[in-house]
Amino acid sequence: MASVHALRFGLLGVLCVSAAACGGGGGGGGGGASGGGPPPTNNTTSVIVDAGPLNMSVNTLFTSVTVCVPGSTTSCQTIDHIQVDTGSYGLRILASVLTLTLPVETLANGNSLAECTQFVDGFSWGPVAAADIQIAGETAHSLPVQVIGDSRFTNIPAGCSGTGGTEEDTVSAFGANGILGIGPFELDCGDCDTVATHGLYYACATSCTETAVPNNLQVPNPVTHFDADNNGAIVVLPAVAAGGASDVMGSLIFGIDTQSDNASGSQTVLTVNDNAELLMTFNGQPLANSFIDSGSNGIYFNDPSIATCPAPPGDPSSQIVNFYCPTSTLNLEVSIQGMNGAMANSVTFEVGNAETMLQSSFDAFPQLAGTIPPGNAGSFDYGLPFFYGKRVAVAVQGATTTAGTGPYIAF
């Protein structure tokens, strides 16, 4: 097992001495350029669904990112197993895998900027630092990124930890070496430039206090800061066998309608609301807080008619009780409506037995489904299984493509 795992790492983990040597994997951006001019930027990198750095993830999509000290072409590092998340914004790296020292951003008053990133299951604390980054041939310069669990910032403010959940400042608690948030907005906060939002950005001197932050210092979706192909990204994954598979590989393509390999074609464009949400209808119920999200590891919805899994003997608090365990595979459907009125009617999906899946050694499961905490107006969270066998484009707010104007999700 260990050697297999090492192989997986070898696949994505390459230590680069210079940024130029770190092109990233995957097919190139199809040229087709007629006449002279520079060749198009390589806009495609490889992604993989594997067991992750803890050798225990399921339905979790990873890629590699090259990070450099701003302005340097030699102080660079390529980091594997960065989770690809269309449900968040910004690049965040665990300090324990970072061999570089990145300069911390400072506010106008000279205080250092730090962030408490809130995920549903907990929070990650660390400074906002500047980095040059490269993915495939795409580059962003002096990009604000979060360094999670940085030894220079060890005192977690009570207001941060008080938002609840687990402190996720190590790879073992976070489950990845970092996260690449490429959702359909630029910033990880709606109005942090004017409001000191509770438990989010902090100005740090001898201690840290909540602060408003100019937009240009907030942690952005890196795609929006690329020199080219910066209006969105496309996730392409193959279909996965019903019973599961291991190490499913696909592509992450940057830009939409900017090169010949990222054309919208006849995709259905679903505009999302200010919370990146869509209206899904399941079992006749409209669920207004629904979303499509590569960062969710299953299909999450509520259907009381489907049996949930039993708790394993001796482990009554196992999370598996929140997942579905039908005796035979169920064929279900959901309709998805965008804010633009466009509809994807009767999108079919299958629900399998989560207990059976977990007994296998696979890490990609198209039929993994579970119950969802009830959102304000009801939610259907269509996670990574949605992406299997599809080409899903995420256009950022304000971006214009031949198919529409972001923020949208198209497939």
């Binding site: 299951d121 609840g164 959940g165 906060c189 438990g199 929140n322 977990l358 579970g370 009830p374």
Partner: protein
């Protein structure tokens, strides 16, 4: 299950409303399982304000607005204790304050094979804690099973 007479409840509600009026705008948060008066405790920290207080048939709900957009709702049973807390917004509110002795349960689930960053559902003794959503739109609720007044549909608690 305490049953009360509607007059008692109205009187209690009025008293509560007066108390709330006296505390505005400092009221921030009550604590799950504790008397409604715990609203005083968390005051200055979050600069929140009560947006509304509404008496429903078998409980009272306070809607508390944080300046950064998060809304918290606190459900008070006729016996005066907070039996449920719900939140929704760009970030979570001060749950250490709002959940009190139940706060640590939120971090009790360690990372397992089924973990992702979008779902937490914990049942620990009397406590049910459910947290969901995604970056820029987080929501959740916590309630005490034995403290829910009779006739309340938990679907209303959001």
């Amino acid at each position: 299950m305490p049953i009360f007479h509607s007059d008692d409840f109205k009187r209690a509600a009025l008293g509560g409303a007066l108390l709330i009026a006296a505390l505005i705008p400092q009221i921030a948060s009550a604590t799950l399982g504790q008397p409604e008066i715990t609203v005083q405790t968390d005051v200055a920290r979050s600069h929140a304000a009560i947006k509304s207080s509404e008496d429903r048939s078998s409980y009272r709900v306070h809607e508390i607005q944080l300046p950064s957009g998060t809304v918290m709702r606190e459900f008070v049973a006729p016996n005066g204790n907070v039996f449920a807390v719900a939140w929704q917004g760009p970030t979570r509110p001060d749950l250490r304050q709002a959940l009190g002795q139940y706060f640590d349960a939120y971090s009790s689930a360690s990372r397992s094979k089924l973990s992702d960053r979008r779902h937490v559902q914990i049942r620990q003794g009397d406590l049910v804690l459910q947290s969901g959503g995604h970056m820029r739109a987080l929501s959740g609720r916590a309630y005490l099973l034995s403290a829910i007044p009779s006739g309340v549909n938990i679907g209303e608690l959001h």
